[in-house]
Protein backbone atom coordinates (compact mmCIF):
# COMPACT_ATOMS: atom_id res chain seq x y z
CA UNK A 1 0.00 0.00 0.00
CA UNK A 2 1.32 3.40 -0.98
CA UNK A 3 1.11 6.54 1.13
CA UNK A 4 2.01 9.09 -1.51
CA UNK A 5 0.89 10.22 -4.93
CA UNK A 6 2.39 8.28 -7.86
CA UNK A 7 4.49 11.17 -9.11
CA UNK A 8 6.05 12.16 -5.77
CA UNK A 9 9.03 9.75 -6.05
CA UNK A 10 9.60 10.89 -9.62
CA UNK A 11 9.77 14.52 -8.58
CA UNK A 12 12.58 13.57 -6.20
CA UNK A 13 14.39 11.31 -8.68
CA UNK A 14 14.06 13.49 -11.80
CA UNK A 15 17.04 15.82 -11.16
CA UNK A 16 19.47 12.95 -10.58
CA UNK A 17 17.98 10.95 -13.42
CA UNK A 18 18.30 13.90 -15.79
CA UNK A 19 21.97 14.24 -14.93
CA UNK A 20 22.45 10.53 -15.42
CA UNK A 21 20.85 10.62 -18.86
CA UNK A 22 22.44 13.87 -20.09
CA UNK A 23 25.94 13.48 -18.64
CA UNK A 24 26.42 9.71 -18.44
CA UNK A 25 24.19 7.68 -20.70
CA UNK A 26 23.93 10.03 -23.67
CA UNK A 27 27.71 10.69 -23.75
CA UNK A 28 28.33 6.95 -23.73
CA UNK A 29 26.23 6.54 -26.86
CA UNK A 30 27.57 9.73 -28.38
CA UNK A 31 31.16 8.56 -27.92
CA UNK A 32 30.43 5.66 -30.26
CA UNK A 33 28.71 7.95 -32.77
CA UNK A 34 31.52 10.51 -32.67
CA UNK A 35 34.15 7.85 -33.20
CA UNK A 36 32.86 7.42 -36.77
CA UNK A 37 33.24 11.14 -37.53
CA UNK A 38 36.01 13.70 -37.83
CA UNK A 39 34.37 16.19 -35.42
CA UNK A 40 36.55 19.16 -34.44
CA UNK A 41 36.83 20.80 -31.01
CA UNK A 42 35.07 23.92 -32.33
CA UNK A 43 32.24 21.99 -33.96
CA UNK A 44 31.17 20.33 -37.20
CA UNK A 45 32.38 16.97 -38.46
CA UNK A 46 31.27 14.43 -41.00
CA UNK A 47 30.92 10.67 -41.12
CA UNK A 48 34.22 9.02 -42.00
CA UNK A 49 33.40 5.35 -41.47
CA UNK A 50 36.10 3.24 -39.91
CA UNK A 51 38.91 5.67 -40.71
CA UNK A 52 39.60 6.52 -37.05
CA UNK A 53 39.82 2.87 -36.10
CA UNK A 54 42.21 2.15 -38.97
CA UNK A 55 44.36 5.05 -37.78
CA UNK A 56 44.41 3.53 -34.28
CA UNK A 57 46.18 0.46 -35.65
CA UNK A 58 49.05 2.55 -37.01
CA UNK A 59 49.33 4.91 -34.07
CA UNK A 60 52.76 4.39 -32.55
CA UNK A 61 52.06 6.70 -29.61
CA UNK A 62 49.02 4.62 -28.74
CA UNK A 63 51.17 1.50 -28.67
CA UNK A 64 53.51 3.16 -26.19
CA UNK A 65 50.54 4.44 -24.18
CA UNK A 66 49.08 0.95 -23.93
CA UNK A 67 52.43 -0.51 -22.91
CA UNK A 68 52.84 2.22 -20.29
CA UNK A 69 49.34 1.51 -18.98
CA UNK A 70 50.04 -2.18 -18.58
CA UNK A 71 53.35 -1.49 -16.79
CA UNK A 72 51.59 1.05 -14.61
CA UNK A 73 48.95 -1.44 -13.61
CA UNK A 74 51.29 -4.36 -13.06
CA UNK A 75 53.60 -2.34 -10.80
CA UNK A 76 50.86 -0.56 -8.88
CA UNK A 77 48.81 -3.70 -8.15
CA UNK A 78 51.10 -5.50 -5.65
CA UNK A 79 52.24 -2.34 -3.89
CA UNK A 80 48.80 -0.82 -3.51
CA UNK A 81 47.05 -4.02 -2.42
CA UNK A 82 49.61 -4.89 0.30
CA UNK A 83 51.06 -1.66 1.70
CA UNK A 84 47.72 0.02 2.52
CA UNK A 85 46.59 -3.15 4.33
CA UNK A 86 49.70 -3.05 6.51
CA UNK A 87 49.05 0.64 7.12
CA UNK A 88 45.44 -0.06 8.07
CA UNK A 89 46.57 -2.69 10.58
CA UNK A 90 49.04 -0.13 11.94
CA UNK A 91 46.44 2.60 12.50
CA UNK A 92 43.62 0.26 13.55
CA UNK A 93 44.49 0.21 17.25
CA UNK A 94 43.18 3.27 19.05
CA UNK A 95 46.45 4.57 20.43
CA UNK A 96 46.71 8.16 21.67
CA UNK A 97 47.10 10.48 18.68
CA UNK A 98 45.99 7.87 16.16
CA UNK A 99 43.45 10.24 14.58
CA UNK A 100 46.28 12.61 13.80
CA UNK A 101 48.22 9.86 12.04
CA UNK A 102 45.16 8.64 10.13
CA UNK A 103 44.44 12.17 8.94
CA UNK A 104 48.08 12.81 8.06
CA UNK A 105 48.34 9.58 6.07
CA UNK A 106 45.27 10.63 4.15
CA UNK A 107 46.67 14.05 3.22
CA UNK A 108 48.25 13.01 -0.11
CA UNK A 109 44.82 11.74 -1.18
CA UNK A 110 43.18 15.05 -0.41
CA UNK A 111 45.78 17.07 -2.30
CA UNK A 112 45.27 17.59 -6.01
CA UNK A 113 47.30 15.34 -8.30
CA UNK A 114 48.57 18.54 -9.90
CA UNK A 115 49.87 19.82 -6.57
CA UNK A 116 51.62 16.60 -5.58
CA UNK A 117 53.05 16.12 -9.06
CA UNK A 118 54.55 19.62 -8.95
CA UNK A 119 56.01 18.81 -5.53
CA UNK A 120 57.55 15.62 -6.83
CA UNK A 121 58.81 17.41 -9.90
CA UNK A 122 60.86 19.66 -7.63
CA UNK A 123 62.03 16.75 -5.45
CA UNK A 124 63.10 14.73 -8.51
CA UNK A 125 64.64 17.70 -10.33
CA UNK A 126 68.21 17.34 -11.60
CA UNK A 127 69.22 19.64 -8.76
CA UNK A 128 66.43 18.59 -6.39
CA UNK A 129 66.30 16.80 -3.07
CA UNK A 130 66.73 13.19 -4.23
CA UNK A 131 69.61 13.82 -6.61
CA UNK A 132 71.27 16.18 -4.15
CA UNK A 133 71.10 13.69 -1.30
CA UNK A 134 72.21 10.77 -3.46
CA UNK A 135 75.21 12.72 -4.74
CA UNK A 136 76.06 13.82 -1.23
CA UNK A 137 76.01 10.21 -0.07
CA UNK A 138 78.10 9.23 -3.08
CA UNK A 139 75.50 6.79 -4.44
CA UNK A 140 75.58 8.45 -7.85
CA UNK A 141 78.15 10.65 -9.56
CA UNK A 142 75.80 12.72 -11.70
CA UNK A 143 72.11 13.49 -11.37
CA UNK A 144 69.67 10.80 -12.48
CA UNK A 145 67.35 12.14 -15.19
CA UNK A 146 64.11 11.21 -13.39
CA UNK A 147 62.07 13.61 -15.47
CA UNK A 148 63.66 13.31 -18.91
CA UNK A 149 64.46 9.62 -19.33
CA UNK A 150 61.61 7.61 -20.79
CA UNK A 151 61.65 4.80 -18.23
CA UNK A 152 62.74 6.80 -15.19
CA UNK A 153 59.92 9.23 -15.88
CA UNK A 154 57.40 6.41 -16.10
CA UNK A 155 58.59 4.85 -12.87
CA UNK A 156 58.69 8.23 -11.12
CA UNK A 157 55.04 8.70 -12.03
CA UNK A 158 54.23 5.18 -10.84
CA UNK A 159 55.92 5.84 -7.48
CA UNK A 160 53.96 9.05 -7.19
CA UNK A 161 50.68 7.22 -7.85
CA UNK A 162 51.56 4.58 -5.24
CA UNK A 163 52.50 7.22 -2.69
CA UNK A 164 49.32 9.19 -3.33
CA UNK A 165 47.10 6.10 -3.18
CA UNK A 166 48.34 4.62 0.12
CA UNK A 167 45.98 6.59 2.34
CA UNK A 168 42.97 6.07 0.12
CA UNK A 169 43.12 2.28 0.16
CA UNK A 170 44.17 2.32 3.82
CA UNK A 171 40.82 3.87 4.72
CA UNK A 172 38.89 1.28 2.72
CA UNK A 173 40.82 -1.51 4.45
CA UNK A 174 40.27 0.17 7.80
CA UNK A 175 36.51 0.04 7.29
CA UNK A 176 36.81 -3.65 6.35
CA UNK A 177 39.04 -4.54 9.29
CA UNK A 178 36.23 -3.49 11.62
CA UNK A 179 34.32 -6.48 10.32
CA UNK A 180 37.04 -9.06 10.84
CA UNK A 181 35.99 -11.11 13.84
CA UNK A 182 37.76 -9.96 16.94
CA UNK A 183 36.86 -13.22 18.63
CA UNK A 184 38.96 -15.08 16.07
CA UNK A 185 41.96 -12.88 16.79
CA UNK A 186 41.52 -13.30 20.51
CA UNK A 187 41.16 -17.06 20.29
CA UNK A 188 44.25 -17.30 18.09
CA UNK A 189 46.20 -15.05 20.45
CA UNK A 190 45.24 -17.21 23.40
CA UNK A 191 46.37 -20.27 21.43
CA UNK A 192 49.74 -18.59 21.02
CA UNK A 193 49.55 -17.63 17.34
CA UNK A 194 52.10 -14.95 16.47
CA UNK A 195 51.11 -11.55 15.10
CA UNK A 196 52.41 -12.60 11.69
CA UNK A 197 50.42 -15.84 11.66
CA UNK A 198 47.28 -14.04 12.78
CA UNK A 199 47.80 -11.51 9.97
CA UNK A 200 48.17 -14.21 7.32
CA UNK A 201 45.49 -16.60 8.55
CA UNK A 202 42.86 -14.28 10.00
CA UNK A 203 43.28 -10.72 8.73
CA UNK A 204 43.97 -11.48 5.07
CA UNK A 205 41.11 -14.00 4.61
CA UNK A 206 38.88 -11.61 6.54
CA UNK A 207 39.45 -8.77 4.08
CA UNK A 208 39.62 -10.95 0.95
CA UNK A 209 36.51 -9.40 -0.60
CA UNK A 210 37.79 -5.89 0.03
CA UNK A 211 41.16 -6.87 -1.40
CA UNK A 212 39.57 -7.86 -4.69
CA UNK A 213 37.48 -4.69 -4.78
CA UNK A 214 40.66 -2.71 -4.15
CA UNK A 215 42.55 -4.56 -6.90
CA UNK A 216 39.81 -3.57 -9.32
CA UNK A 217 39.99 0.06 -8.19
CA UNK A 218 43.79 0.07 -8.50
CA UNK A 219 43.79 -1.47 -11.98
CA UNK A 220 41.15 0.85 -13.34
CA UNK A 221 42.75 3.97 -11.88
CA UNK A 222 46.21 2.92 -13.13
CA UNK A 223 44.83 2.57 -16.65
CA UNK A 224 43.17 5.99 -16.36
CA UNK A 225 46.29 7.81 -15.17
CA UNK A 226 46.58 11.37 -16.42
CA UNK A 227 47.68 14.21 -14.13
CA UNK A 228 50.81 12.56 -12.69
CA UNK A 229 52.35 11.77 -16.08
CA UNK A 230 51.10 14.99 -17.63
CA UNK A 231 52.65 17.25 -14.98
CA UNK A 232 55.87 15.29 -14.46
CA UNK A 233 56.52 15.30 -18.20
CA UNK A 234 55.67 19.00 -18.43
CA UNK A 235 52.64 18.20 -20.59
CA UNK A 236 54.83 16.75 -23.33
CA UNK A 237 54.48 13.04 -22.65
CA UNK A 238 58.19 12.40 -22.28
CA UNK A 239 60.87 11.99 -24.97
CA UNK A 240 59.22 11.45 -28.36
CA UNK A 241 55.81 11.27 -26.69
CA UNK A 242 56.61 7.78 -25.45
CA UNK A 243 55.45 8.50 -21.90
CA UNK A 244 51.85 9.24 -22.79
CA UNK A 245 48.92 7.46 -21.24
CA UNK A 246 45.74 6.77 -23.21
CA UNK A 247 43.95 9.59 -21.38
CA UNK A 248 46.79 11.98 -22.22
CA UNK A 249 46.33 11.16 -25.90
CA UNK A 250 42.59 11.76 -25.57
CA UNK A 251 43.30 15.15 -24.02
CA UNK A 252 45.78 16.08 -26.77
CA UNK A 253 43.25 15.39 -29.50
CA UNK A 254 40.55 17.35 -27.65
CA UNK A 255 42.15 20.73 -28.24
CA UNK A 256 43.38 23.21 -30.76
CA UNK A 257 43.11 23.41 -34.52
CA UNK A 258 44.82 20.06 -34.88
CA UNK A 259 42.28 18.55 -32.49
CA UNK A 260 40.08 15.71 -33.65
CA UNK A 261 37.20 14.73 -31.39
CA UNK A 262 36.39 11.79 -33.65
CA UNK A 263 39.79 10.25 -33.15
CA UNK A 264 39.70 11.14 -29.43
CA UNK A 265 36.40 9.25 -29.20
CA UNK A 266 37.92 6.22 -30.89
CA UNK A 267 40.71 6.39 -28.29
CA UNK A 268 38.04 6.60 -25.57
CA UNK A 269 36.54 3.35 -26.83
CA UNK A 270 39.97 1.74 -26.62
CA UNK A 271 40.22 3.03 -23.05
CA UNK A 272 36.84 1.52 -22.22
CA UNK A 273 37.85 -1.94 -23.38
CA UNK A 274 41.23 -1.67 -21.69
CA UNK A 275 39.62 -0.91 -18.32
CA UNK A 276 36.82 -3.43 -18.65
CA UNK A 277 39.18 -6.39 -19.12
CA UNK A 278 40.87 -6.33 -15.68
CA UNK A 279 37.50 -5.55 -14.09
CA UNK A 280 35.95 -8.67 -15.58
CA UNK A 281 38.99 -10.82 -14.81
CA UNK A 282 39.13 -9.77 -11.17
CA UNK A 283 35.36 -10.08 -10.75
CA UNK A 284 35.66 -13.63 -12.10
CA UNK A 285 38.48 -14.39 -9.68
CA UNK A 286 36.25 -13.13 -6.92
CA UNK A 287 33.43 -15.47 -7.90
CA UNK A 288 35.79 -18.43 -8.20
CA UNK A 289 37.35 -17.71 -4.83
CA UNK A 290 33.88 -17.41 -3.31
CA UNK A 291 32.88 -20.78 -4.76
CA UNK A 292 35.99 -22.54 -3.53
Amino acid sequence: MRYHRWFTPWVLVIPALTWLLVFNLWPSINTVILSFTNAKPIGGGTFVGLKNFEALLHDEQLRWALLNSVIYMVVCLPFLTILPLLLAVLVEKKLPGITFFRTAFYTPVVASAVVVALIWQWILDDRGLVNGLAEKLGVISGPLPFLSDQWLLLFSAISLTIWKGLGYYMIIYLAALGNVGRELHEAAAVDGASTYRRFVHITIPGVRGTMILISILISVSALRVFSELFILSGGKGGPGGRDNSVVMLIQQYSQGFEGNLGYASALSIVLFFVTVVPMLLLARMNRKAADA
Partner: protein, 306 residues
Protein backbone atom coordinates in the same frame (compact mmCIF):
# COMPACT_ATOMS: atom_id res chain seq x y z
CA UNK B 1 27.15 -2.79 -0.84
CA UNK B 2 26.74 -3.42 2.81
CA UNK B 3 26.75 -1.18 5.79
CA UNK B 4 29.87 -1.45 7.82
CA UNK B 5 28.75 -2.06 11.34
CA UNK B 6 31.46 -2.73 13.79
CA UNK B 7 30.14 -3.76 17.16
CA UNK B 8 33.63 -5.06 17.80
CA UNK B 9 35.14 -1.60 18.13
CA UNK B 10 37.08 -1.41 21.39
CA UNK B 11 35.15 1.65 22.55
CA UNK B 12 31.80 -0.05 22.20
CA UNK B 13 32.76 -3.17 24.07
CA UNK B 14 32.48 -2.96 27.84
CA UNK B 15 35.65 -4.36 29.32
CA UNK B 16 35.18 -7.89 30.53
CA UNK B 17 36.36 -6.77 33.90
CA UNK B 18 37.34 -10.00 35.59
CA UNK B 19 39.69 -11.56 33.08
CA UNK B 20 41.86 -8.79 31.68
CA UNK B 21 43.69 -7.72 34.86
CA UNK B 22 44.30 -11.34 35.81
CA UNK B 23 45.98 -11.99 32.48
CA UNK B 24 48.11 -8.91 32.79
CA UNK B 25 49.37 -10.16 36.14
CA UNK B 26 50.65 -13.28 34.51
CA UNK B 27 52.68 -11.24 32.10
CA UNK B 28 50.47 -11.64 29.04
CA UNK B 29 48.37 -8.78 27.81
CA UNK B 30 44.71 -8.56 27.01
CA UNK B 31 43.88 -8.19 23.36
CA UNK B 32 43.22 -4.48 23.58
CA UNK B 33 46.26 -3.49 25.54
CA UNK B 34 49.67 -3.54 23.94
CA UNK B 35 52.97 -4.35 25.55
CA UNK B 36 55.27 -1.32 25.95
CA UNK B 37 57.63 -2.73 23.31
CA UNK B 38 54.81 -3.14 20.81
CA UNK B 39 53.66 0.40 21.52
CA UNK B 40 57.13 1.78 20.84
CA UNK B 41 57.44 -0.24 17.63
CA UNK B 42 54.06 1.01 16.50
CA UNK B 43 54.90 4.65 17.16
CA UNK B 44 58.27 4.32 15.42
CA UNK B 45 56.51 2.89 12.36
CA UNK B 46 53.82 5.57 12.52
CA UNK B 47 56.41 8.34 12.58
CA UNK B 48 58.32 6.69 9.72
CA UNK B 49 55.20 6.60 7.54
CA UNK B 50 54.39 10.15 8.63
CA UNK B 51 57.75 11.34 7.26
CA UNK B 52 57.06 9.66 3.95
CA UNK B 53 53.54 11.02 3.55
CA UNK B 54 54.00 14.52 4.97
CA UNK B 55 57.69 15.09 4.22
CA UNK B 56 57.25 16.20 0.59
CA UNK B 57 54.66 18.79 1.61
CA UNK B 58 56.94 20.20 4.29
CA UNK B 59 59.80 20.33 1.81
CA UNK B 60 57.63 22.27 -0.62
CA UNK B 61 56.45 24.62 2.12
CA UNK B 62 60.06 25.20 3.12
CA UNK B 63 61.10 25.89 -0.48
CA UNK B 64 58.27 28.41 -0.86
CA UNK B 65 59.53 30.32 2.19
CA UNK B 66 63.20 30.42 1.26
CA UNK B 67 64.56 33.81 0.30
CA UNK B 68 65.64 34.54 -3.26
CA UNK B 69 69.22 34.90 -2.11
CA UNK B 70 69.22 31.54 -0.40
CA UNK B 71 70.76 28.57 -2.24
CA UNK B 72 67.93 26.06 -2.64
CA UNK B 73 70.06 23.64 -4.64
CA UNK B 74 72.50 22.94 -1.86
CA UNK B 75 73.54 19.34 -1.44
CA UNK B 76 72.92 19.43 2.26
CA UNK B 77 69.18 20.04 2.29
CA UNK B 78 67.91 22.49 4.87
CA UNK B 79 64.32 22.19 5.94
CA UNK B 80 64.24 25.47 7.83
CA UNK B 81 64.75 28.51 5.58
CA UNK B 82 67.65 30.70 6.68
CA UNK B 83 66.05 33.81 5.19
CA UNK B 84 62.32 33.10 5.58
CA UNK B 85 60.09 35.29 3.45
CA UNK B 86 56.51 35.36 2.20
CA UNK B 87 57.46 37.41 -0.85
CA UNK B 88 57.08 34.51 -3.31
CA UNK B 89 53.39 34.32 -2.50
CA UNK B 90 53.05 37.89 -3.67
CA UNK B 91 55.17 37.12 -6.74
CA UNK B 92 52.79 34.31 -7.71
CA UNK B 93 49.93 36.82 -7.67
CA UNK B 94 51.98 39.16 -9.88
CA UNK B 95 52.68 36.38 -12.38
CA UNK B 96 49.25 34.77 -12.65
CA UNK B 97 45.88 36.01 -11.32
CA UNK B 98 46.03 33.36 -8.62
CA UNK B 99 43.30 34.85 -6.39
CA UNK B 100 40.90 34.91 -9.34
CA UNK B 101 41.79 31.28 -9.97
CA UNK B 102 41.03 30.50 -6.37
CA UNK B 103 37.67 32.23 -6.63
CA UNK B 104 36.96 30.26 -9.81
CA UNK B 105 37.82 26.97 -8.10
CA UNK B 106 35.65 27.91 -5.16
CA UNK B 107 32.72 28.78 -7.41
CA UNK B 108 32.92 25.42 -9.15
CA UNK B 109 33.31 23.57 -5.85
CA UNK B 110 30.33 25.30 -4.24
CA UNK B 111 28.10 24.47 -7.21
CA UNK B 112 29.22 20.84 -7.19
CA UNK B 113 28.79 20.43 -3.43
CA UNK B 114 25.35 22.09 -3.45
CA UNK B 115 24.15 20.06 -6.42
CA UNK B 116 25.30 16.78 -4.95
CA UNK B 117 23.87 17.38 -1.48
CA UNK B 118 20.45 18.26 -2.86
CA UNK B 119 20.26 15.98 -5.89
CA UNK B 120 21.69 12.83 -4.37
CA UNK B 121 19.82 13.02 -1.07
CA UNK B 122 16.47 13.57 -2.82
CA UNK B 123 17.05 10.71 -5.25
CA UNK B 124 18.59 8.45 -2.62
CA UNK B 125 15.61 8.99 -0.35
CA UNK B 126 13.06 8.25 -3.07
CA UNK B 127 14.91 5.15 -4.24
CA UNK B 128 15.23 3.65 -0.77
CA UNK B 129 12.13 4.79 1.13
CA UNK B 130 9.37 5.08 -1.47
CA UNK B 131 7.74 2.41 -3.56
CA UNK B 132 7.20 3.19 -7.23
CA UNK B 133 7.11 1.56 -10.62
CA UNK B 134 10.49 1.10 -12.36
CA UNK B 135 12.31 1.80 -9.09
CA UNK B 136 14.63 -1.16 -9.62
CA UNK B 137 15.35 -0.17 -13.22
CA UNK B 138 16.28 3.36 -12.18
CA UNK B 139 18.52 1.96 -9.45
CA UNK B 140 20.13 -0.38 -11.99
CA UNK B 141 20.85 2.55 -14.31
CA UNK B 142 22.73 4.34 -11.55
CA UNK B 143 24.68 1.19 -10.74
CA UNK B 144 25.53 0.52 -14.39
CA UNK B 145 27.27 3.85 -14.88
CA UNK B 146 29.77 3.02 -12.14
CA UNK B 147 31.46 0.58 -14.50
CA UNK B 148 32.26 3.39 -16.89
CA UNK B 149 35.41 5.39 -16.14
CA UNK B 150 34.63 9.10 -16.48
CA UNK B 151 37.49 9.63 -18.93
CA UNK B 152 35.79 7.40 -21.50
CA UNK B 153 32.93 9.86 -21.94
CA UNK B 154 34.86 13.05 -21.31
CA UNK B 155 35.04 13.97 -25.00
CA UNK B 156 31.35 13.57 -25.69
CA UNK B 157 30.61 15.29 -22.38
CA UNK B 158 32.57 18.21 -23.73
CA UNK B 159 30.49 18.09 -26.90
CA UNK B 160 27.31 18.16 -24.79
CA UNK B 161 28.54 21.10 -22.72
CA UNK B 162 29.62 22.91 -25.89
CA UNK B 163 26.18 22.39 -27.43
CA UNK B 164 24.61 23.86 -24.30
CA UNK B 165 26.73 26.95 -25.05
CA UNK B 166 28.78 26.42 -21.90
CA UNK B 167 32.23 25.70 -23.35
CA UNK B 168 34.86 27.91 -21.72
CA UNK B 169 32.61 28.80 -18.77
CA UNK B 170 32.93 27.91 -15.09
CA UNK B 171 29.32 26.74 -15.04
CA UNK B 172 30.24 24.31 -17.80
CA UNK B 173 33.05 22.99 -15.61
CA UNK B 174 30.71 22.45 -12.66
CA UNK B 175 27.60 21.21 -14.46
CA UNK B 176 28.29 17.52 -15.28
CA UNK B 177 29.55 16.76 -11.78
CA UNK B 178 26.64 18.38 -9.97
CA UNK B 179 24.86 15.09 -9.30
CA UNK B 180 27.16 12.10 -9.21
CA UNK B 181 25.72 8.61 -9.67
CA UNK B 182 27.99 7.25 -6.95
CA UNK B 183 26.69 9.85 -4.50
CA UNK B 184 23.11 8.90 -5.28
CA UNK B 185 23.97 5.29 -4.46
CA UNK B 186 25.78 6.26 -1.26
CA UNK B 187 22.73 8.21 -0.11
CA UNK B 188 20.45 5.36 -1.15
CA UNK B 189 22.53 3.03 0.98
CA UNK B 190 22.49 5.39 3.94
CA UNK B 191 18.73 5.95 3.89
CA UNK B 192 18.12 2.23 3.63
CA UNK B 193 19.66 1.56 7.04
CA UNK B 194 16.76 3.39 8.69
CA UNK B 195 14.12 0.92 9.99
CA UNK B 196 10.86 0.84 8.00
CA UNK B 197 8.88 0.99 11.25
CA UNK B 198 10.01 4.58 11.79
CA UNK B 199 8.51 5.53 8.44
CA UNK B 200 5.31 3.67 9.18
CA UNK B 201 4.94 5.36 12.54
CA UNK B 202 5.41 8.75 10.86
CA UNK B 203 2.85 7.86 8.20
CA UNK B 204 0.35 6.91 10.91
CA UNK B 205 1.02 10.27 12.50
CA UNK B 206 0.14 11.88 9.19
CA UNK B 207 3.59 12.96 8.03
CA UNK B 208 3.87 13.52 4.29
CA UNK B 209 6.85 12.56 2.12
CA UNK B 210 8.57 15.91 2.51
CA UNK B 211 8.19 15.89 6.30
CA UNK B 212 9.55 12.35 6.47
CA UNK B 213 12.49 13.37 4.30
CA UNK B 214 13.34 16.46 6.33
CA UNK B 215 12.59 15.29 9.87
CA UNK B 216 13.33 11.57 9.77
CA UNK B 217 15.50 10.84 6.73
CA UNK B 218 18.05 13.65 6.72
CA UNK B 219 18.95 13.65 10.44
CA UNK B 220 19.79 9.97 10.27
CA UNK B 221 22.18 10.22 7.29
CA UNK B 222 24.26 13.22 8.35
CA UNK B 223 27.43 11.10 8.40
CA UNK B 224 27.11 9.94 4.81
CA UNK B 225 25.90 13.32 3.65
CA UNK B 226 29.02 14.97 5.05
CA UNK B 227 31.21 12.39 3.30
CA UNK B 228 29.39 13.15 0.04
CA UNK B 229 29.92 16.88 0.61
CA UNK B 230 33.59 16.52 1.55
CA UNK B 231 34.36 14.31 -1.43
CA UNK B 232 32.42 16.54 -3.80
CA UNK B 233 34.39 19.55 -2.61
CA UNK B 234 37.75 17.81 -2.81
CA UNK B 235 36.91 16.31 -6.19
CA UNK B 236 35.89 19.64 -7.68
CA UNK B 237 38.78 21.56 -6.14
CA UNK B 238 41.38 19.01 -7.26
CA UNK B 239 40.01 18.21 -10.70
CA UNK B 240 42.39 18.93 -13.53
CA UNK B 241 41.55 17.09 -16.76
CA UNK B 242 37.96 18.31 -17.14
CA UNK B 243 38.60 22.05 -16.55
CA UNK B 244 41.67 21.71 -18.77
CA UNK B 245 39.42 20.53 -21.61
CA UNK B 246 36.54 22.93 -21.03
CA UNK B 247 38.44 26.15 -20.32
CA UNK B 248 40.47 27.84 -23.04
CA UNK B 249 40.61 31.38 -21.72
CA UNK B 250 43.41 31.88 -19.11
CA UNK B 251 41.19 34.34 -17.22
CA UNK B 252 38.76 31.57 -16.39
CA UNK B 253 41.22 28.91 -15.24
CA UNK B 254 40.68 27.07 -11.99
CA UNK B 255 43.60 26.74 -9.58
CA UNK B 256 44.87 23.39 -10.88
CA UNK B 257 44.89 24.49 -14.51
CA UNK B 258 46.38 27.82 -13.49
CA UNK B 259 49.18 26.06 -11.61
CA UNK B 260 50.03 23.98 -14.62
CA UNK B 261 50.02 27.18 -16.66
CA UNK B 262 52.35 28.82 -14.11
CA UNK B 263 54.79 25.92 -14.11
CA UNK B 264 54.70 25.50 -17.88
CA UNK B 265 55.13 29.15 -18.80
CA UNK B 266 57.18 30.66 -16.01
CA UNK B 267 59.00 27.68 -14.53
CA UNK B 268 62.24 29.40 -13.74
CA UNK B 269 62.04 29.63 -9.97
CA UNK B 270 61.11 26.56 -7.90
CA UNK B 271 60.26 28.89 -5.00
CA UNK B 272 57.54 30.48 -7.09
CA UNK B 273 56.02 27.13 -8.12
CA UNK B 274 56.27 26.00 -4.50
CA UNK B 275 54.35 29.05 -3.32
CA UNK B 276 51.73 28.41 -6.01
CA UNK B 277 51.26 24.78 -5.00
CA UNK B 278 50.90 25.81 -1.36
CA UNK B 279 48.18 28.31 -2.30
CA UNK B 280 46.22 25.44 -3.86
CA UNK B 281 47.09 22.92 -1.15
CA UNK B 282 46.56 24.82 2.11
CA UNK B 283 42.80 25.54 1.69
CA UNK B 284 41.98 21.91 0.97
CA UNK B 285 44.01 20.75 3.96
CA UNK B 286 42.19 23.19 6.21
CA UNK B 287 38.83 22.03 4.88
CA UNK B 288 39.76 18.40 5.41
CA UNK B 289 41.35 18.87 8.83
CA UNK B 290 38.27 20.71 10.07
CA UNK B 291 35.86 18.13 8.75
CA UNK B 292 37.93 14.98 9.28
CA UNK B 293 35.92 13.72 12.25
CA UNK B 294 32.75 13.71 10.10
CA UNK B 295 34.72 11.98 7.42
CA UNK B 296 36.03 9.20 9.65
CA UNK B 297 32.60 8.88 11.27
CA UNK B 298 31.13 8.48 7.81
CA UNK B 299 33.73 5.86 7.01
CA UNK B 300 32.66 3.87 10.04
CA UNK B 301 29.04 4.19 8.89
CA UNK B 302 30.14 2.59 5.64
CA UNK B 303 30.01 5.56 3.35
CA UNK B 304 33.38 4.82 1.77
CA UNK B 305 32.96 1.52 0.06
CA UNK B 306 33.19 1.33 -3.71
Amino acid sequence: MSIVTDPARPVAVPEASGTAPRRRKRGTFGFNSLSPTEKVVRYVLLVFVLLITIGPFLWQLSTSLKGSGEDIYTRIPRLLPSQPTLSHYGEVADTIPVWDYMRNSLQVAVLVVGGNIIGSSLAGFALSRLQFKFRRIVLGLFLATLVLPGEVTIISQYVTVRELGLANTLFGVALPGMIGALNVLLMYNAFRSLPVEVDQAAIVDGANVWQRFVHIGLPSVRGTLSVVAIFAFIGAWDDFLWPLIVLTDPDKYTLTVGLQYLSGTFSNDPRLIAAGTMIAFIPIVIVFATLQRFFFKGVEEGAVKG
